[in-house]
Assembly symmetry: none
Homo-oligomer: 239 residues x 2
Amino acid sequence: MTTRDRQDALIRHMRRNGTTTVATLAHQVGASRRTILRDIAALRDAGFVIDSEPGRGGGLALDTRSVQTTPRLTVPEVFALLISVASMRAAGNLPFANLADAGLAKIEKALPSDKLRDLRRLLDCLYIGTLAPQIDISNLGQMSPNLLSAFEHAFLKRLQMRFDYSDAKGARTSRRVEPHAMLILPPIWYLVAWDPMRNGFRHFRMDRIRAPEHVEGSSFLPRHVTFGADIRPVQHPQG
Amino acid sequence: MTTRDRQDALIRHMRRNGTTTVATLAHQVGASRRTILRDIAALRDAGFVIDSEPGRGGGLALDTRSVQTTPRLTVPEVFALLISVASMRAAGNLPFANLADAGLAKIEKALPSDKLRDLRRLLDCLYIGTLAPQIDISNLGQMSPNLLSAFEHAFLKRLQMRFDYSDAKGARTSRRVEPHAMLILPPIWYLVAWDPMRNGFRHFRMDRIRAPEHVEGSSFLPRHVTFGADIRPVQHPQG
DNA sequence: CTTAATGGTGCCAAAATTTGGCACCTTTGT
DNA sequence: ACAAAGGTGCCAAATTTTGGCACCATTAAG
């Protein structure tokens, strides 16, 4: 969460909720009161009109008439939206998915061509099933926050991914694989990847993937990639 | 001079001067070569298309055709996207939903304020449950394509909706109700509405709602509203 | 072939910025 | 008087940014 992201979140929250307070915002974005006050000052500096009332019953309120900015979405953001819509379609809610799709199409049109190319490649590797697999989902875990970004980064740049995996019996192994596809069989998500150590394709339940605890040669990792996209290039089959 | 200011300056310089080099830019803004290269990467990530040619006589050039066009989305489109993301969040796929949310926030920012007000009102009437109801879903039907648009139209303009409804026993009734909320208990979607004939609130499973076969006074209906949003205003409780 | 110019990447320590905590002030409604 | 709210100044700790360096790949000129 960069400064900029946090400030975006503040604006979003104020847009949605109307009047709010510094304490509320601080709790919302997980920052201190002091930081929020600094952000508010920065946002005012950037042109946002934010009314404030001191005293009991006071608070902050964004004047929504004030600023209009062009949205600039990143590839993972659009990809996440696409996944949302696609999985809703898979759940059978077609009419709504179609409407959302129309909106997405417009967004895609506004993407620069190279981003669009990335997006198409990501879409090509995404499979969404309609029927839930007949398996026990009582111990369905939480997916790690950075997994989608890490997948996108590694897949597009043809890098390997490193992570720790717990199989159905709870045995933890450390993996280094080449990501090839994402398979969604609601509510289970799978990563399909080539495991060069085992010389074969493997499915990994994404809720069982964790960031690697001990990364050898961690100095090779860009700091923002949590799942250890490696610098070693991958021989992908498709062009 | 913040990072952002510097990156803006780079874009301005490239817009003005056409082809340039990293060294030139570095000298221009008083930063190192390394920093400029990092900025270029960030700008590309943000959606700017910047061509580059290596080798003697090479350089950088901003593709000015790739100027971002603001996608024009309608309220129902954004609403459908929001539902997609919200239902994915309800399904427990938080990290992905958060990413999608960030994208949506940017889209919301670009909406004109009156649309944003509409959107907020729609959001206020949307409830998404996390646990599926313990009911038989073997006969889950298809939701009609225009139902969401009709709901949005009728709700925002405080009009009545007309439709045919089949209850659990298959008995068909013709309804004329005031829509108040949408309740999603995956995979079942409900319309919550006031039924003035029966003088009470009713839940309608949305997959059992069908367009009315015989609509009296159909000349009053806007053509695109399939479900017969009536011109009679509704007394909504909230402002 | 050699060389110079150019974009690009990885790494690391130094520099700069951001952050959280604290004390304290002002305003406002009960 | 008091509690709840916004706002400011300060400082050490945490985090991010930066510059410098080495090095790679590509390209054109000599």
